[in-house]
Amino acid sequence: MALPEIFTGLTTVIKNVFRRKDTVGYPEVRRLPFPRYKGRHILDRHPDGLEKCIGCELCAGVCPADAIRVVGAENTAEERFSPGERYAQIYQINYLRCIFCGLCVEACPTEALLMTTEYELSGSTREDLIYTKEQLIVDAPIIRHWDTKKELPPDINLKGTS
């Protein structure tokens, strides 16, 4: 009775045996993620160089994995980090906890927090995977809707074989 089913099943298997493989031989071959892939975060800057992040903790509040820690502080005339009154004195994302859901990016009222396509996050200690503000913040404002490849550190070759 089950003959047609068995036949269909076998056809599927045989077809796939000859299909092009989806897996690649990482790390020799590195895959280019889709442009809107949600990887490691960055903190953006304004064109004048000030930080966009105002330390509001909304990203930390919304994070379902409790991966973000923000401690705000007040800008002073001498030490100004961001426009307005408040900036993030401490900003950390714990990549051992982050599930890359992107809710934090959605919650951010200033579009300071963005996600890149970088997915190669590993470290040899737990502390290594708690990214600090210095690691997350970009040196210069990024261009929205960037070409993904362009924005990644030059030493990472996402194209494939090295």
Binding site: I54, A60, G61, D66, V71, A73, E74, E85, R86
Partner: protein, 857 residues
């Protein structure tokens, strides 16, 4: 004024509320009645602790027969009233009001400290429109004005609810903040150039329904969802205001008033609210220290206790002095250690109030303390105040005295050698001679019935037995009650637990009293003691004869100090043991009306610091008397077994579970359609609600630690925080015999010489001083006023000085130069604040009648 209090029970009215038939007391406000039955009416300006002004129009409801919507916060219920809070017109009006409020609201929630616990945010979410139709530019003001050391004002965010203004005028009586200008330009401001330096300014932050008034020390420090919260009690004075400690990352970052209409209403003073930084001070002791030569060396607890045991074994001439900031459990342990284990009667806890004759109140119903509660004070027809300025020493009691006079119509008489802040509301002010309080009290002949007589030691170290006896007699004569204002949070607990030379735990009088603090220090200075124990006691800073304290501690007697900080006295000890601060421990405090209130632990103590009762138990154990205490509850069990006054006091009753359903907060979300709040489904925003505190703050949600913080929680009252200790002889208000052995009134004639250089030295603490805790609380450290010498205008003229000039004070071998203030003070007396940075008044004191020479500098 509390609108729901005190209505006569027999006048009930029937009304229909959203289709429900209700029977309630007449004249109550609709908003309260609705809330009680679970119907939430949104509001901004209404506050249960203050009179209604009905300015925000957020609480409009439909009342049948009225052509217009009526504000629920200003409409008393009447018979046959038919009210609908969810009528389409009412809901429409509420939505409209919110839209109006948001026209000029900056919507800078992301940088606003109130976000996450903001009534405007929450009510907009629950009752407001989804979007705005207003596209014009908003009104702007300069942001973040620092209006005092503690308060930051953002006028853009203000919704003009008048709460802060009403608080300042009505409750605190300090008119510092006001709405100025009219129309769209209306703004909240302090009077030009004058800072908002009220002792109660922090309350305006807690009641402001938006982020217009925010706290400077808490600025940008945390979000409500980061906070862990534990209920606690303020340790600064004997009013014992319930508060919450809130911590982020194991550091206390904020304290808020926990409303209890029996104690603090809805308020705290700024010392209580901002005085928490001492807990995390870098100076805190974290390990036992044992002296070797001139230096201290850190030691283990075992080694430190061994050292104590080897030094005191078989020694029986031991003095024990305890401070006023320890809990009831500590007090019991200290009493037990001293009297049972060390077998000494030389135990006392009165340091600043050395010699205060509390035990003489025993004649009034067997209590060394108050027979009146704070509610009795508030409800009294007559109040007689003799004591220190309550605004400086017992700030929230001052608020309640104001309420008693202004709202309750009490007639207040003040007897004091010096102007107090009560004078402006008093019906009668008696300015007596220094030390002449007793005589002045006996001369008062117009005290009506049922007066509550409040007595506190008005100047540290003076012998005020005469005044105390006169106060007791006055309260007996009027058939009223007595409020004994002990100075510190733990002082009453010490008396209750027998840390007193003449009393054992439970007010049992001992036949042969031991030495009191002064006598202990004198004995130590004379080398007549083998060892001295100081529990949270710093006699050099606090005892009203610094010279004696210094001699006693420098005599080389083996001294053990249990302390939070390396105080002057502790640094002269041989063994210093670290103690846990109030936020680091469980325990109870007994306030001046003898209400027991519980502290919960929130943060960890530094190093190996531990509760003093554990230290006592360890020392007793090492001396061969194991008490078997491991937890606070064990101490309580012991107390209940051995202290008759406390035998029914179950600690479990004081331990509050998180409520099964969170009571209403001012911005509760219910069913928006019907405004009803089904308790199980109820979600409450803001601190202590089911959302969002503790929800994802790292540490798990802790039951019992998640106390509601909001001032709306009127339910948290005596029923849930019982504990006014019953009188041992069951007498309700204790009309007893006259104090046993009361001496004949001594000749209270003033000994103060006219002018010249022989002045009576009066002192007393100001709210901000150099106390070991206040001075280490960084928010308060800089606002202490500093020392001064207050003189009578006549004396000043005799000395040829005027305000601002400097005078030299000489007494007890010390000499200080201070600026002069001219004040309403008895002739022949000079007032110097007790413990200020530039003058320690106790260095000028000696004996029970300190005198100083005053001369122009």
């Amino acid at each position: 004024m509390t609108q729901n209090g005190g209505a006569p029970k027999d006048t009930q009215v029937g009304l229909t509320l959203n289709g429900r038939e209700l029977k309630v007391e007449k004249d109550r406000l609709l908003i309260d009645v609705a809330e009680e039955v679970g119907i939430f009416v949104p509001r901004f300006c209404y506050h249960p602790g203050m009179k209604s002004v009905a300015v925000c129009r957020m609480c409009l409801v439909k009342v049948e027969g009225s052509p217009k919507l009526l504000p629920a916060c200003a409409t008393p219920v009447t018979d046959g009233m038919v009210v609908d809070t969810v009528d389409e017109t009412a809901v429409d009006a509420q939505r409209g009001m919110l839209e109006f409020l948001l026209i000029n609201h900056p919507l800078d929630c992301p940088i606003c400290d109130r976000a996450g616990e903001c009534p405007l945010q929450d009510q907009t979410y629950a009752h407001g429109p989804g979007s705005t139709r207003y596209v014009e530019p908003k009104r702007t003001y300069e942001k973040a004005l620092e209006i005092s050391e503690l308060v930051v004002l953002d006028r853009e965010r203000c919704v003009l609810c008048w709460r802060c203004v009403r608080f300042a005028d009505e409750i605190a009586g300090d008119r510092f903040i006001q709405l100025v200008d009219r129309g769209p330009g209306t703004q909240i401001l302090t009077f030009s150039d004058e800072p908002f330096d009220s002792y109660f300014s922090g309350n305006t932050i807690q009641i402001c329904p938006v982020g217009a008034l925010t706290s400077k020390p808490y600025r940008f420090v945390s979000r409500p969802w980061d906070l862990q919260t534990a209920p606690s009690v303020c340790t600064y004075c004997s009013v014992g205001c319930p508060l919450t400690n809130e911590s982020r990352d194991e550091k206390i970052v904020r304290c808020q008033a926990l409303p209890n209409e029996n104690v603090n209403d809805f308020w705290l003073c700024d010392k209580g609210r901002y005085g928490y930084h001492h807990v995390e001070s870098a100076e805190r002791l974290g390990s036992p220290l044992v002296r070797s030569g001139k230096e201290f060396e850190p030691a283990s607890w075992g080694a430190a206790v061994d050292k104590i045991v080897s030094a005191i074994k078989d020694k029986r001439r031991i003095g024990v002095i305890a401070g006023g900031h320890l809990t009831t459990e500590d007090a019991y342990a200290i009493g037990k250690l001293a009297k049972k284990v060390l077998e000494t009667k030389d135990v006392d806890s009165r340091i600043q109030d050395a010699g205060a004759p509390y035990e003489r109140a025993l004649a009034l119903g067997g209590i060394a303390g108050s027979t009146a509660t704070l509610n009795d004070v508030e409800g009294a027809p007559e109040i007689l105040w003799v004591g220190p300025d309550p605004k400086e020493t017992l700030p929230v009691l001052y608020l309640r005295l104001r309420k008693a006079v202004n709202d309750g119509g009490a007639r207040l008489t003040v007897v004091s050698p010096r102007a107090t802040s009560l004078d402006v509301i008093a019906a009668k002010v008696v300015r007596c001679e220094a030390g002449g309080e007793g005589r002045a009290l006996r001369e008062i002949d117009d005290l009506g019935d049922d007066a509550v007589v409040c007595w506190g030691q008005s100047s540290p170290g003076r012998d005020e037995t005469d005044a105390f006896d006169a106060a007791v007699a006055a309260s007996q004569a009027s058939g009223g009650k007595l409020l004994v204002c002990v100075p510190h949070a733990g002082s009453q607990g010490m008396l209750d637990m027998g840390v007193h030379p003449g009393l054992d735990a439970g007010y049992v009088e001992v036949a042969e009293p031991g030495r009191d603090t002064r006598a202990i220090l004198e004995a130590a200075a004379a080398g007549e003691l083998d060892a001295l124990f100081l529990f949270g006691a710093d006699p050099i800073a606090d005892f009203p004869d610094a010279g004696l304290a210094r001699r006693a501690l420098e005599k080389g007697i083996f001294t053990v100090a249990v302390e939070l900080f390396p105080t002057q006295s502790a640094m002269r000890a041989d063994v210093v043991l670290p103690s846990a601060a109030y936020a680091e421990r469980e325990g109870t405090f007994t306030n001046l009306e003898r209400r027991v209130q519980k502290l919960e632990r929130l943060v960890a103590p530094p190093g190996t610091a531990q509760e003093p009762w554990k230290t006592c138990a360890a020392i007793a154990g090492a001396l061969g008397d194991a008490w078997g205490w491991a937890r606070c509850d064990d101490v309580w069990d012991d107390i209940r077994r051995n202290v008759p006054t406390h035998k029914d006091l179950d600690l479990a009753l004081l331990t509050q579970e998180a409520p099964a359903h969170a009571p209403f907060y001012e911005s509760a979300f219910g069913d928006v359609q019907t405004h009803t709040m089904d308790p199980p489904a109820l979600t409450v925003a803001g601190p202590g609600g089911q959302y969002p505190k503790g929800y994802r703050s790292g540490a798990p949600f802790q039951t019992g630690q998640n106390w509601p913080l909001s001032w709306e929680l009127r339910a948290f009252e005596a029923k849930q925080r019982p504990g006014v200790i019953p009188h041992p002889n069951g007498s309700a208000n204790g009309h007893g015999a006259a104090p046993a052995g009361a001496p004949d009134a001594p000749d209270a004639a003033p000994r103060a010489a006219e002018g010249g250089d022989d002045f009576v030295l009066l002192s007393g603490r100001l709210i901000y001083d150099e106390g070991s805790m206040v001075s280490r609380s960084k928010a308060l450290g800089n606002i202490a006023s500093g020392g001064y010498a207050e003189l009578n205008p006549g004396d000043a003229a005799d000395l040829e000085v005027s305000a601002g000039d400097r005078v030299v004070l000489r007494g007890a071998g010390a000499e200080v130069t201070l600026p002069v203030r001219i004040g309403d003070i008895a002739k022949g007396a000079v007032y110097v604040p007790y413990d200020q940075r530039d003058v320690k008044a106790n260095t000028l004191m000696s004996g029970v009648d300190s005198r100083v020479g005053v001369a122009k500098a």
